[in-house]
Subunit: 362 residues, 2 copies
């Protein structure tokens, strides 16, 4: 594998994304999309079809590399993001991850008490998740310095919800009942997950990930005190144990808690470099609250991409104006792109960000 070595600054033709994460000057606002390698692209659907199953797609470094690069062949995104699933860690713990067509992820095992937590094995990232780090190395080689590569993981709390519920949920009642009735067992579970996530992200960084994002998809379903105790505390621990520099560059960390708009100050104080925003909060208001400390990533409503290109362009303009002049903005959606979006609308989106953002960086 063409894994970059040593502390020499690797070649990077477009470093807008990394610079913006560190609030350094850029010529245009960098843009990428959560779930940019995904079902809205016909070429993704073809590769996915050929892979036989979603798990095959995730576990083959070659196929994961192929779909990671697909959106970059169509659109001038300023970053690539590793194609993988957020549930690789619970799967490596022997939970038996599988996907039912149209049903989302499921586990064959469930975590329901302290004994189940106790029995969970430690994850040996180097062997159990080699397919992910191999994919990272391969993608880096194929990217050949064109744009940086983002690694990622689910947050401990988000992983725990799936492990306790056995899959997705509408109200997360089983996970919450576990949290409320067995807080010590939940903490033990989160502790194990935080250790695994730290190892996992550090392995991705060593393999070549130039920034990492922690997806706290379900932190926003908690009360404020529970969010702090059961989600943010573990993300903070992870952030503080990540490799800070690799290949002569800082490795910025993005924390994204969906529906976390009430907790921006707490999230910004975690030590992360950038806070991901969903679409419900105004980025200008977020900048006033935490823009002196961190960069902001976001925050267009993903559903805008269903609207006509001129409407998309107007929304891009609104968000750019709301952030205003100066540095520290990575343009993105407030959540992953939906499967039914017309790729032409994505083209209009990316073009609008690059074109309309220029005046804000002079």
């Amino acid at each position: 594998m063409g894994q970059p070595k040593g502390e020499a600054l690797s070649i990077l033709k477009n470093d807008r994304f990394l610079k913006a994460l560190l609030r350094q000057p850029v010529d245009r606002t960098p843009v990428w999309m959560m779930r940019q390698a995904g079902r809205y692209l016909p070429e993704y659907r073809a590769t996915r079809q050929g892979a036989g199953s979603f798990m095959n797609l995730c576990q083959s470094p070659e196929l994961a590399c192929e779909v990671t690069l697909q959106p970059l062949q169509r659109f001038p995104f300023d970053a690539a993001i590793l194609f993988s699933d957020i549930l690789t860690i619970p799967d490596a713990m022997g939970m038996g991850l599988y996907f039912e067509e149209g049903e989302g992820p499921r586990f064959r095992k469930l975590i329901r008490d302290a004994e189940d937590v106790e029995a969970l094995p430690e994850v040996d990232v180097a062997s159990d998740l080699a397919y992910v780090t191999d994919a990272v190395s391969l993608i880096r080689r194929e990217l050949n310095g064109s744009v940086p590569l983002i690694g990622f993981s689910g947050s401990p709390w988000t992983l725990a919800t799936y492990m306790v519920e056995g899959g997705g949920s509408r109200d997360f009642r089983v996970a919450k009942q576990f949290l409320y009735d067995q807080p010590q067992a939940m903490h033990q579970l989160l502790d194990k997950l935080a250790t695994a996530v730290t190892d996992y992200l550090n392995a991705q960084i060593r393999a070549g990930a130039q920034a990492v994002q922690i997806f706290d998809t379900w932190g926003g379903i908690l009360t404020t005190p529970a969010y702090r105790e059961f989600s943010l505390a573990y993300m903070r621990r992870i952030v503080n144990n990540l490799i800070r520099e690799n290949e002569g560059r800082q490795v910025p960390v993005i924390l994204f808690t969906k529906n976390g708009g009430l907790w921006l100050e707490d999230i910004a104080d975690s030590g992360c470099h950038c806070v991901g925003l969903d679409w419900t909060i105004e980025i200008g208001a977020a900048r006033q609250r935490i823009g002196d400390r961190v960069a902001l990533q976001g925050n267009m409503d993903p559903c805008i991409l269903y609207a006509e290109p001129e409407r998309i362009r107007a929304e891009v303009a609104r968000i750019l104006a709301d952030f205003g002049t100066g540095e520290g903005h990575v343009f993105n959606l407030g959540h992953g792109i939906a499967p039914g979006v017309n790729p032409d609308h994505v083209a209009a989106f990316v073009e609008s960000v690059h074109e309309l953002s220029e005046p804000y960086h002079q």
Copy 2:
């Protein structure tokens, strides 16, 4: 029907709820639960079974009255809430509301363009929704002044999402695409709905509802500017056109936007008497932000009711302490109670609120 008439102050043995909504002194914090008449109660399930269909249950004033009173026979709630569905208005507009077992509400018709909106008939509340006002009158007679009765409606935006989507949704993409691509048609739809909701709530007030709540269940899925323009603006118009006094008492209005914690100041400025809080925001922080202007209702995580009674009691204590001493708190869940909750846990909840709140009102 035993409809109360005239301006004389009607008898009310327990007026804690109405007083708290007006931030007047009370002896204990009043408590009720969203969806308190519902599937968690075996007696509700029996009545629902006997009714044949959910629509029959809603449309029979006798059955609606019966299930409205059921929770009050078990628990010392400080208010009753009319049992009905939030989609009675679209149904009265000829949308053809029906319920598929386990699927939630569906409409036979859909609203997809300006012509569909244009074709929607005006609602004649007095005839089309007489089954609701008849239920209100009957419930008032049966309550016999024991506790006040709350009337309610869905917000225009929330009703519109169902009318455009044809039912519930995961990401509301159809409703949002309509909003983004056809804002004028969406405004026309919301305008019609706001007029109907105003008439509907005023009819409930005339029939005996002593407070009303507007459920903006889906306002929280919008961007901040879209929330202000497409949801809050119409709720404000409704609030300003409601009957302010009946039977010699003020008729307080509660606005509840789920996931509206970022917009509390805007909501409080609508003219409402009370802002409903979901469980993600801390009630103490909410009080600091808007407690000088409005009462607050909430805000316990409904999933706590799955936990053991001692845990429920601890959470009640935490929320009471977070609100602190003084007036203007109506205890409630942050969302409706879930079907699987053990009624004994509800008993523990209500008892805890009454018992633990006394020291805060001295």
